[in-house]
Symmetry: C2
Subunit: 347 residues, 2 copies
Amino acid sequence: MIEAKGYAAQSPTTDLAPWAFERREVGPHDVQFEILFCGVCHSDLHQIRNEWFPGIFPMVPGHEIVGRVTNVGSHVKKFKVGDLAGTGCLVDSCRECDSCKEGLEQYCENGAVGTYNSYEKDGKTPTYGGYSNTIVVHEDFVLHISPDLDLAAVAPLLCAGITTYSPLKHWKVGKGHKLGVLGLGGLGHMAVKFGVAFGAEVTVLSTSPKKEEDAKKLGAHKFVVTTDEEQVKGVKRYFDFILDTVSAEHDINMYLSLLKRDGTHICVGAPSEPSKIHAFSLLAGRKSLAGSGIGGLPETQEMLDYCAEHNIVSDIELIDIKDITASYERMQKGDVRYRFVIDMATL
Amino acid sequence: MIEAKGYAAQSPTTDLAPWAFERREVGPHDVQFEILFCGVCHSDLHQIRNEWFPGIFPMVPGHEIVGRVTNVGSHVKKFKVGDLAGTGCLVDSCRECDSCKEGLEQYCENGAVGTYNSYEKDGKTPTYGGYSNTIVVHEDFVLHISPDLDLAAVAPLLCAGITTYSPLKHWKVGKGHKLGVLGLGGLGHMAVKFGVAFGAEVTVLSTSPKKEEDAKKLGAHKFVVTTDEEQVKGVKRYFDFILDTVSAEHDINMYLSLLKRDGTHICVGAPSEPSKIHAFSLLAGRKSLAGSGIGGLPETQEMLDYCAEHNIVSDIELIDIKDITASYERMQKGDVRYRFVIDMATL
C-alpha cells in the first residue's frame, strides 16, 4: 500500500485534522499523481457534517483535484510521469449500464464511485478525496489538464466548472437566451463565465447587492437583487433558463415566476431540506424544474479543453490547509471570491 | 340581459343549489348555446371550496360544456343556429401577448378569462360556468363538436381531454416511449386512451388494485399498484414520462425514482398543498418535473377532431343535477368511472 497523508474528519461532529492513511498500490490501469491543489466545495462541508446522508468516516474530502503524475501502471496509455492530471467527483463506475456507455458516468445506474465518502466497486474499500498529498485513480477517470492555465485556478473546474457547464450544454443555452444565474458563489461565478462564453444574456440573481460589481466584472449583463421587490418585478416572466446554484433553502416558486412560458429552472445545488413546490408554479406557463449533477468523463474533458481554448478558470483564494475550518466558516457566509483552493504544499 | 338558471355555490361553505342569474346579450361576435351536458371536474370542487384561491361567489361551476347553438351575433362566421358547440375552461384572453398569438391562450400573459370563477376582461363582470341551461361566449372560444360522437361523453374532453392531450403532444410522447399514467380518474383514463392512441407503452400507476381490469380495458399495457413495494421496484428507472393526474397530496419523489435518466414527470393535477421535492430526486438522473395547464383553442379543436377521427370519448356516468353534491362525495373517494356528466335536461 501507499502511505498517504491528508486532512480528515473523524466523525460528523469533529473538525478536519491531519490524518495518515493508505492508498492502493498502482495497478496496471492506474495513475498516481501528486496533488498540488484541491478546491473546496460546499458539498465537502455538507458531507463531513452528514447533511445529505450518513457518511463514511474517517472522511478525507475534496473532489477538485489537480496535480502531476508520479507513477503509471503498466497498461496506462493516456498518461506519463510528469503530465498534469486532474480528478473530479468520480473515480469509477460500472462501465456497463447505458449511462456509462454514453459517457454519462455520473448517472451510472449501478452507482458511480465517488472520489470520497464512497466505496470502491468492491463495496467495502472507502475512497478518500483530495485534501491529501497523493491519489491513485484508474486512468479512465483521470483528466488531462492544459499547462497554459493557472493550475490552482483550474482545480474548481473539476466540480464547480463541469456542474455548470454540463446543464448549459445539455439544455443548449446560448445566443438568444436570457439566462438567470441564481447565487454568485463557486458554481454561480462559473455559470456566469460559461453563460457569457456561450452567447446568452446573463443576469445574476443574488441577495447580496455588493456582488453587483463583481458580477459585471465576471461578464454578467445584468444584476438583480432578489430581496428588492421592484427589481424582481422587472424580471417577471423574463428568463428562458435559470441555473440555480444555491444549496441553502430558498423559495423556488418565486424564481419559477421569473421564467417565461416553457422556461426551465435547473437545480445544481442540493439544499439538505426538500423544496416546497406549488403545482401552479409549474402549470402556469408549462414550466420545468430540472436537476443536473456534475458531468461525465468525456464532457469534463471537453469542458477542460474548452476552458484552455477560451482562457477560462475559476476566481480563487488560495489557502493553507491549516485554515480549512476557518475557510468553511467564511464559505458558509458566502465570504469567498469565489472558490477556496488548498495549496497542498502547505500540508 | 338573458335570464339563465343553474346551480351555484353561494359561499365556500354551502352546497350547490338552484340559482337564477343573467348572461350578457348576444354581441356581434357571440354565440349563445343551450347547454345539454356539462362534465364534473375535480377542480369544480376545489374552487367552490376555496381550496386553490379565494373564489368569486355566487359561483356556477362547470367548464366541460357541450350543447346546441340557439343564437349567433351578426358578425359570427364559424357557427350557425343548430350547430353543436362546446366550451372548455376559457372564454376569453387578451389576444395580444405572445402566448395568445401562438394559440396558447391558456398561458395568456395578461390573464385569460376562465369560464367561471373569473372576471370578464372588464375586470368586474363575473363569469358563470356550465352547471346551467345556456351560455354566451365569443365565437373564438367556442369549439366545433362532431355529431358522430356521443355528445355527453364528449363533454369531458373539454377539460380532462385537452389537459392530458396537450402535454403528451408537447413532449412528443409516442412510439418507443414508456409512459406512466399516475391516477386513473377523469384525467387519467383520458391519458391512457391518448397515450395508447399515440403509440406509447402505457402503464397505469394506481393505489387501487381493483382498477387493473378497467385500466386494461382502456388499453393500458401494464398496471402497477403503487402501494406494493415489489411492483414498484419492478418499474424503478423505467419510464420516459409520467403524466401525473393526481390532485391529492402524494410523494412525487417516489415517482421521480421511476423515471429513466432524462425522464420527465408532468403534473396536470394541482394539489392544494405544495409538494416537497428533494434536489437529489432531480439531480440523480437529470430529471425534470414539469407542469402543463389545459390547452389553447387551436389545440383543443385539434384534439376534438382527433377524437372524432379515432372514436375517442370519455367513459362517463350521466347524473341528475340534483345529485351533484352526492356525486362530489363519490368523486372525492375516486368512486366514479370515470367522469360524472350532468344531463342538463334534469335542471
